[in-house]
Symmetry: C2
Subunit: 441 residues, 2 copies
C-alpha cells in the first residue's frame, strides 16, 4: 500500500492507509497505548490495544523509524481529528538510539552547543526545522522576484587568486601548488556578469575567516547577491531591494505558514517605500559625534527603535555612507547625487558615497550601493587609497570594455532569518554552522 | 524617459523611446550610418543621418555603452522590423577598449584559451551567453520539479573536517590553525537532512582537486543534489530522476527558447520510462570482459549508441554497479533486489549494488542510488573495506538515531549543459572555469 503523509489522513477516514515516520512519542495507558508518529507533514496518532504490540512498542526507543498500516477513524480529541486504529507496525530500520534530549517537548531543553554537537537530531525538533523551512521559503521568494524581472542566475568561482575585499579574514589554500583564497563574496564576478546579462543574481556560500566569536558571524554563510546595470544611481538599487524583500516575505507567508505558526511569529510589513536617512542624520539620531566614520551596533539599535517609533517600520535605509568605510569600487556621492554633503573639515572630498545599508530591527542586514563603472575611475580610486592594482588587475581591466552604470546588494540569509525569527544566535537558524571553534558535524 | 528593451520596440512604433546598451556594430554607408545596439533583449538598429553624429560614431569603439533616444519606425528590412530614427546619443561611461575578438560575428573566432582569458567580454557573445541562460533555466526546472514534490532546499557546509569520498583529489586549507577540506559533495549532509525533512535538495559548488587536464573535469562545478527517504529501493530514485530531468528540459524549452535557437539545438525527449540495463548486460553490449569492474568512456559511448539504436533514446540507466567501485555508503543489491546477480568466481558477495549511473548521449551524467540506512550496516561496510570509522565518525554516528531507507543522486550542471549543447569542452559552458591551470579571471 502506497504511503501517505500524516497531513492527508483526514481525507482517508474510514479507509486503511499506510503511514511511515519517526516514533515521536509513546503514551502507555492502562488498557491502551498511543503511538505518535512524526513525518514530514507533522504528527499522527496511532491507537494500540493489542497487548503484544503494546509490549513491543513499550521497548522501542524514540526516533525509531516505523511503518504503520491501519484504518483511519475520526476522533475529535486526536491531532487533526483523526487517528489510526487496528495498526500493524513494522520497523523500517533498526531500533534507534534515543537522542540526548527529548524531541517531543515544545522547546529543546539542551543548550545551543549541545544542539550543535548533535545537529542531525536537534534539527528534527520543530522549532529548529521551522527556521530552515523559513530560510528555504525566503530564498524561493528571492529568486521568484528576480526571475520575474529578467534577472539571470549565475554561479561564480569560490576559489580566487586574490582577496575580494580588504584582504583580511580570508581562508587561504593550496591550489595545485599556488596560493588561492576562498571567495569572501561574488562581488567582482557579479559585476562582470552585468556586462553579459545586465541583471544577475547568485545564491551561494561565502567564506570569512572571522576571528571573533560572536552571535552574528559565521565562517561560511549563504549570500543572496544581486547586481544590475543601467541604473540611474543607488536609489534604483534600493527600490529593487524593497521589491526583493517584499517577495521574500510574501514567499515565507505562502510557503512556510506552518513554520511561522510553530515559532509564533508575525511577518513585518514592507512599506511601499522604506524610510531612509542620510548617514549624517543617522549619526545625529543615534546621538553619535558628527565625525564618526561608521555606525556602531548600539547606534544601529537606536536607529531601529527610531524607525519603529517615527515610521512604524522595522526597516530603515541608511544612505550616503562615508567613502572612507566603503570598498574601492563604491561610487562616490558627487554633487548632484541625493547623498552629496560637503565634507567635514579635514576630510577629503567626496566624503560620502552612493552606498547604503538596510537595517532590519536595528541590525545591519543588507549592504549595497552603486559601483564605479568607468575603468579610469577604478584606477583613480585605487590610487587615492594607495591600494595596488595588481591583486584586482583582471577585474579592473574588464571595465575597459564598456560597463553600464550599475549597482547591487547582498543579503546574508542566516542573519535575515535570525532577525526575523528573533533567534538570539545566528547558529540557531543554521543547519551546520562553521565558526572559530566548530568544523563538525 | 524610461529606458525600454530592444525586444519591446515593435510595440512602440510611431513613438519616441530611449534604449541603452552596448555598441555592437556600426555600418558606415555613404549617406547614412547604422548603429546596432545590443542589450539584454537582443539587437536594435539605429539610423544615423546627421553628419556630425555620424562622424562621432565612426570613432567610437565597439562595446562602448550608449543611451539612444529616437522615434521607432517600421522597416521590414531591420531586425524585428523596426528601427530608431532621428536619434540623440549619449555615452553612459567612457569609450570602450575593443575586445581582442569580434563579438558581432556569428561565431567567436578566438581559441578557447583566449576566450577564457577574456571571459568577461567573451561571455557577451550570444553563443557563450546562450549556454549560461540554458544553465539557469535548467536549474530553475530542477528546483520547480522538486518544490512541487515537497522537497526542501538546504545549504550545507563546504568546509569539512574529513574528505567526503575517497580522500583523494581534495583541497586542504588552514581553518583557524586546523586542517580542513573543501567538500567534494554534500553527500553526507544531504543524507543527514533526510532525517529532518525526508526530502531535500541543494544547488551548490563542489570542489575536486582534479589533477587531470581533460575536457570534462573542473576543479569547481555546480552540483544539483537530491536525497529523499522512505523509498522502496533505488528504482524510486530513478523515477524521481526521470521527473527531474523532464522538468529541467521543459524549463529550458520555456525559459531559454531564444538560447536554444541561437545554438540551433533541439531538446531530447525524456521517455515516460528511461531504458535501463544491468551493469553485467552493459558490459556485454559494450563488448567488455564480464569481470570488468567499471565502464570505460569508450564503453559508455557504445552504450549511448546502443540506446539510441535500440530504444531511440538519448538517456540510458546502467543499474547494479559493482560494489567494489562504489563508496561505502552504497546499498548492496541483496537477494530480492532487481539488481541482484550472483558474484563471478573470486568476487565477494554481494557483488552488485543498488547504485546506478545515468548516461546521456554516451557520457555519465548522473550518479545515484540507494544508500545504507542502518548504523550497523555502516560499521560493517567500513570494516569490510578496511576503511577507518574515525574520518566519518560524526556522519556514521547520526545513523544510530533512526534513518529511513533513502537514496538520491547528483547531476553535474556544467556537464549536463555541455552534453546538451554539444560543447566539446565543459569550459565552453562555464562562466569562469577553474582547473589545474586556471585560477583567473
Amino acid at each position: 500500500m502506497r504511503r501517505v503523509l500524516s497531513t492527508s489522513l483526514p481525507t482517508h477516514v474510514g479507509r486503511p492507509v499506510t503511514i511511515a515516520g519517526w516514533l515521536h512519542r509513546r503514551r502507555l495507558l492502562k488498557s491502551v497505548a498511543f503511538l505518535i508518529l512524526r513525518d514530514a507533514g507533522g504528527l499522527a496518532q496511532v491507537v494500540v490495544t493489542d497487548p503484544e504490540l503494546r509490549a513491543w512498542l513499550a521497548e522501542l526507543p524514540e526516533e525509531t523509524v516505523l511503518q504503520v498500516t491501519g484504518e483511519v477513524v475520526a476522533n475529535p480529541a486526536a491531532p487533526a481529528g483523526v487517528e489510526l486504529v487496528e495498526p500493524s507496525v513494522r520497523l523500517l530500520g533498526e531500533p534507534a538510539v534515543p537522542p540526548p534530549f527529548d524531541l517531543y517537548r515544545p522547546a529543546l531543553a539542551a543548550t545551543l552547543p549541545t544542539q550543535l554537537d548533535h545537529a542531525p537530531v536537534a534539527l528534527r525538533h520543530p522549532t529548529r526545522s521551522a527556521a530552515l523551512r523559513i530560510s528555504a521559503a525566503a530564498v524561493a521568494g528571492f529568486r521568484a522576484t528576480l526571475d520575474a524581472r529578467d534577472f539571470v542566475e549565475v554561479h561564480t568561482p569560490k576559489l580566487v587568486a586574490g582577496a575580494t575585499e580588504s584582504g583580511a579574514n580570508v581562508f587561504e589554500l593550496d591550489y595545485f601548488g599556488r596560493p588561492a583564497y576562498l571567495a569572501q563574496s561574488p562581488q567582482f564576478y557579479k559585476q562582470l556578469m552585468v556586462g553579459v546579462f545586465e541583471r544577475v543574481y547568485e545564491v551561494g556560500p561565502v567564506f570569512r575567516a572571522e576571528p571573533h566569536d560572536t552571535a552574528r558571524h559565521l565562517a561560511q554563510y549563504t549570500s543572496l547577491d544581486v547586481e544590475f546595470g543601467f541604473v540611474e544611481d543607488h536609489r534604483d538599487v534600493m527600490s529593487m531591494l524593497r521589491e526583493v524583500l517584499a517577495g521574500m516575505l510574501d514567499s515565507i507567508a505562502v510557503r512556510a505558514g506552518g513554520a511561522l505558526d510553530t515559532l509564533g511569529i508575525d511577518l513585518p510589513p514592507v512599506p511601499a517605500e522604506i524610510p531612509s536617512v542620510h548617514f549624517t542624520e543617522a549619526l545625529r539620531i543615534a546621538g553619535a559625534a558628527p565625525d564618526e566614520p561608521d555606525l556602531a551596533p548600539a547606534h544601529e539599535r537606536t536607529l531601529g527603535e527610531w524607525a519603529r517609533a517615527e515610521h512604524g517600520c522595522e526597516f530603515l535605509f541608511v544612505t550616503g555612507y562615508p567613502m572612507a568605510k566603503r570598498p574601492f569600487y563604491t561610487h562616490p556621492a558627487r554633487p548632484g547625487s541625493p547623498e552629496f554633503r560637503p565634507a567635514l573639515a579635514g576630510a577629503g572630498e567626496p566624503a560620502y558615497s552612493n552606498g547604503f545599508d538596510l537595517l532590519f530591527r536595528g541590525v545591519e542586514l543588507v549592504t549595497g550601493g552603486q559601483r564605479l563603472h568607468r575603468h579610469g575611475d577604478y584606477l583613480a580610486a585605487l590610487a587615492a587609497r594607495n591600494e595596488p592594482v595588481e591583486p584586482v588587475a583582471t577585474y579592473v581591466a574588464a571595465f575597459r570594455h564598456g560597463m553600464p552604470p550599475h549597482g547591487g546588494f547582498a543579503i546574508g540569509l542566516e542573519r535575515f532569518v535570525a532577525r526575523l525569527t528573533g533567534a538570539a544566535n545566528i547558529r540557531e537558524v543554521t543547519a551546520f554552522p562553521r565558526d572559530l571553534h566548530r568544523l563538525t558535524p
